[in-house]
Amino acid sequence: MTLATPVRTAGSLLFNPGLKRNRTDKLFTSIAALFSLIAVLPLFLVLIYVLIQGGQLISVSLFTQLPPAPGLEGGGIANAIIGTFVVTLVASLIAIPVGVGGGVYLAEYASSGWFAQFIRVGNDILAGVPSIICGVFVYSAVVATRLFFGQSYSALAGGIALAVLMLPTVIKTTDEALKLVPQELSWGAIGVGASKFVTITRITLPSAFTPIATGVVLAIARAAGETAPLIFTALFSPFWPEGLFNPIASMSVLIFNFAIMPYEAQNSLAWAASFVLVILILGANLLARWIRRFASS
């Protein structure tokens, strides 16, 4: 056989579905399609059940009343809704300034020094720490030591635990967003005599606003749904919130507590809280998407 005479005498170019390679191709394409179907199926099943089971309980009282005592009917999840907002707000107030500040340091002051690399690696490790261990840490550091005015479980402790969880995301987002800002922009500012502080706060950070905002919104959405760090920091409360230094209810802990109770009223409230929580979180995700699209157009 030589190269000069092709082995395949002029054959048909036509598609032959019976060929082994074409049958294999079709088989694998069908498998991939099936896998994709299986992958998106849980989303539909979960959403449908949350919407049906939770949606039918939506009423004014859900948003205005306290949960009922075990064995009683009716009631609402008003305290848990407020609690989720309070705890998430506390977490954001801690994690956003710390995270953005840390990210500014990594991207603008020390992008390649050993200390920055050390912080980056540490940040990746912190992102991988299981959320329940964040809860254990804050319990040991804040709750067990009664750090805040002798109070043990508190909304503040819950907020701190969620902040520990949010921090790595905010730092990483800020670091990466700032590195995408063209250097010429900050050179321009420095070139006219602006200080580094002015350059960062007036030029660099605003130009990286969109990716940072997107990342922060996603981090908040994730924190709002977290339960593990809250169960022994913020704990739970069947009453209205009593300030930052007392235990506070949250929707996620309410779902956990009420799901495993043998009472139907509580189970239903767990579904209702899931409904509210899922709507809020999917809304935040769509908001983040919208910010991204809005900025890119």
Binding site: L3, A4, R8, A10, G11, L13, F15, R21
Partner: protein, 272 residues
């Protein structure tokens, strides 16, 4: 002066290998190249030359349905190979590409060993013979055997750019296609590698029909038997440019006595 535009350009004495019949290629609604008629002769080297954006690479990629990989790319007209329109609905593009190979502008060895880079294509084409022998023969044909014979197990990415491109040519040869398409194969290479590849092409045309796109007119003169000159013109009222085939003839005629003024201007460097 008779215009060659919109008329089949033939090299009457030679059997044609690929025929383009009124081919128009578009990306979405934007026409990249329009109304190409051309008969590419068998066992010869045909060069496509022309300014950037004239659609010569687009036409080349159309010759083995590589444009299928680009979303929104569509073709009107017929490309006849072996008596069949390769764009007919029931044609298998994989079948087309097994008989019409391609070498790309940027060397793209697979992330595998040098040996496997060659053997991969042969194996999927159902090669049953002695694989070691085929690898050696292909590497020899592509003038890269001496440089690689002691490191066949090493990654193809470890070679230099010029060596990678010759490896890619060896890879294309190994599946024994009837036609090899080369899309500016030397544009990323140094002069010495370029020279090696050009020398190799003189060898290869004994076995294969070669179609090469090149930016470099000296290269077209050195390697090709036939040359097609493409140009681009502004679309009426449109924003973009559309490419078309100006002239197709013996390389000697194109460079020494072209029929069209535009060709004359381009080959003498008076273009634009």
């Amino acid at each position: 002066m008779t215009s060659t535009l919109n008329q089949p350009s033939t090299s009457a004495t030679l059997p044609s290998c690929l025929s383009l019949e009124n081919v128009t290629i578009s990306y979405g609604s934007f026409e990249a190249v329009r109304d190409v008629y051309m008969d590419i002769p068998r066992n010869r080297v045909t060069a496509f030359i022309g300014p950037s954006g004239c659609g010569k690479s687009t036409v080349l990629r159309a010759l083995n349905r590589m444009n299928d990989l680009i979303e929104g790319c569509s073709l009107r007209g017929r490309v006849v190979f072996d008596g069949q329109d390769m764009y007919a609905r029931e044609v298998d593009p994989v079948e087309v590409r097994r008989r019409i190979g391609m070498v790309f502008q940027k060397p793209n060895p697979f992330p595998k060993s040098i040996y496997e880079n060659i053997a991969f294509g042969a194996r999927i084409n159902g090669y049953k013979g002695d694989m070691d022998e085929l690898v050696e023969r292909s590497l020899r044909k592509a003038a890269i055997w001496d440089e690689t014979k002691d490191k066949l197990k090493e990654s193809g990415n470890a070679l230099s750019g010029g060596q990678q491109q010759r490896l890619c040519i060896a890879r294309a040869i190994a599946v024994e296609p009837e036609v090899i398409l080369m899309d500016e194969p030397c544009s990323a290479l140094d002069p010495i590698s370029t020279l090696k590849i050009e020398e190799m092409m003189h060898e290869l045309k004994k076995s294969f029909t070669i179609v090469i796109v090149t930016h470099n007119m000296q290269q077209a003169v050195r390697v090709s038997d036939y040359t097609a000159f493409f140009n681009a013109e502004a679309v009426d009222g449109g924003s973009g440019k559309v490419g078309y085939l100006v002239e197709f003839n013996d390389t000697e005629r194109i460079f020494n006595a072209p029929v069209q003024q535009a060709t004359q201007d381009y080959v003498t460097g008076r273009f634009g």
